[in-house]
């Protein structure tokens, strides 16, 4: 069985915050259309790994290769900003929706920033809210939504621009298990339809079980990776 091509490949990532190492030589590959869970204890470097792959944080050492050739660790801030707006979507545990805007305006925002006319942006936002089962909450502000509804709105916003990858950092961490299940089921169904890759950071094995594959981190390094990392990294140009 041939594997889909790597979308992102990171090799030997090192990142230190104020003398505290967060990553000590982590390597990982995210393939096109795959859902990859990154698990590990608190402080194992999961979120830092996500930030490096998403171009939010630049690693101190190591390479991040996008689509086999583009070095994100050396890319300009302008290029990274464009990628984050068009090719990557990000979802955090909470606090990412703008409280003054309605759910529909929150989802429409990335399209408006990209220059779409307001009516068209709102129409597409409505379609994405529908996919995540929260269209009837379109006029509500984030403070009026339940935790699960807010996360589904955040997912709609992350996916509205048709990104190639979604980076989700503990997306169900603040939810009870049934609300978490609704969020994960909606996310998985949608990314399968769209062929979007997902890097899913979680400490919860039941959430990791929605992914195709798991990479475990300990002390900033990869403990297990089902893929043959070296061969894949070579193929990915990292």
């Amino acid at each position: 069985m041939s594997n889909p091509a790597p979308l992102l490949a990171a090799r030997g990532l090192v990142k230190t915050y104020g003398g505290t190492p967060a990553l000590r030589g982590a390597s990982v590959v995210l393939r096109q259309g795959e859902i990859l869970a990154v698990t590990g204890a608190s402080g194992s470097g999961k979120s830092t790994l996500l930030h490096c792959l998403a171009g939010i944080v630049r690693p101190d050492e190591g390479s991040v290769v996008h689509r086999g050739s583009e070095r994100l660790d050396r890319a300009s801030e302008k290029r990274l900003s464009t990628l984050r707006r068009t090719e990557f979507g990000v979802v955090f545990q909470f606090g990412q929706l703008i409280p003054e805007l309605t759910a529909a305006d929150n989802v429409a925002l990335p399209l408006l920033l990209a220059g779409a006319p307001r009516a068209e942006a709102l129409e597409r936002a409505g379609e994405w809210l529908e996919r995540f089962g929260v269209r009837e909450r379109a006029g509500a502000r984030p403070g009026e939504l339940s935790g699960g509804q807010a996360q589904r709105v955040a997912l709609a916003r992350a996916l509205v621009t048709g990104p190639k990858a979604v980076f989700a950092d503990e997306p169900t961490g603040a939810l009870d298990s049934l609300a978490g299940e609704q969020v994960m089921t909606a996310l998985v169904r949608t990314v399968r339809e769209c062929g979007t890759s997902v890097l899913l950071v979680t400490h919860d094995a039941q959430v990791a079980a929605y992914a195709d594959r798991e990479v475990r981190l300990r002390d900033g390094a990869v403990l297990t990776d089902g893929a043959d990392a070296d061969a894949v990294l070579l193929e990915a140009g990292a």
């Binding site: 299940e181 094995a205 039941q206 929605y210």
Partner: protein
């Protein structure tokens, strides 16, 4: 299933009305989709014991165009026994008799590679959890399937938590099993 009692499950299935062995087996497998399917022999042996103990009785036969089949129904005593059993608290984990636990302890005793075993077991657990998650979130999954997948997922998750803690403790544990 821990403490599973085939006699009580059959009594429960008979609570809805008379039924024959084949039908009981089929309904059991539908209601407990992630359990090991019941063998016909086990169904008939259990039904005979229920009759012997006065908890069920023969309710005639039913041919339905095919071979003649014996219908069974629950007795009043059977209904009382079922009510007693469903309200009875199951002993919470009275003994730790788990193969994973036993393998870790034995591999420490035998100076084998418990950490390597735990990594491999984790991968197998995660693979099974992915299967169960796919089953439970498939469109149209019925309630019995969702409930049984939830049950299995929670228990595999509990195993994983124990395995993660154990991997972290291994140095200490080895010292305790092998005192100097």
């Amino acid at each position: 299933m821990i403490g599973m009692s085939t006699r009580h499950i059959l009594l429960g299935l008979l609570a809805g009305g008379p039924s024959h062995g084949y039908d009981l087996k089929r309904r059991h497998d539908e209601r407990f989709p992630q359990a090991r399917p019941l063998a016909y022999g086990q169904v008939y042996t259990t039904l005979q014991r229920l009759v012997r103990d006065g908890l069920a009785e023969v309710d005639g036969t039913d041919s339905d165009g095919g071979p003649e089949r014996t219908l069974y129904r629950s007795t009043d005593e059977g209904a009382r026994e079922l009510a007693r059993w469903t309200g009875e608290v199951a002993p919470p984990a009275p003994f730790v008799t788990n193969e994973i636990f036993a393998k870790v302890v034995v591999s420490i005793l035998a100076s084998a590679d418990p950490a390597g075993y735990l990594r491999a077991q984790r991968e197998a657990h995660m693979a099974r959890m992915r299967e169960l998650t796919a089953v439970k979130t498939a469109p149209g999954a019925d309630l019995a399937t969702v409930l049984s997948a939830d049950y299995a997922l929670s228990h595999l998750d509990a195993d994983l938590r124990w395995m993660t803690t154990t991997a972290a403790r291994l140095t200490t544990l080895t010292a305790e099993v092998h005192p100097a």
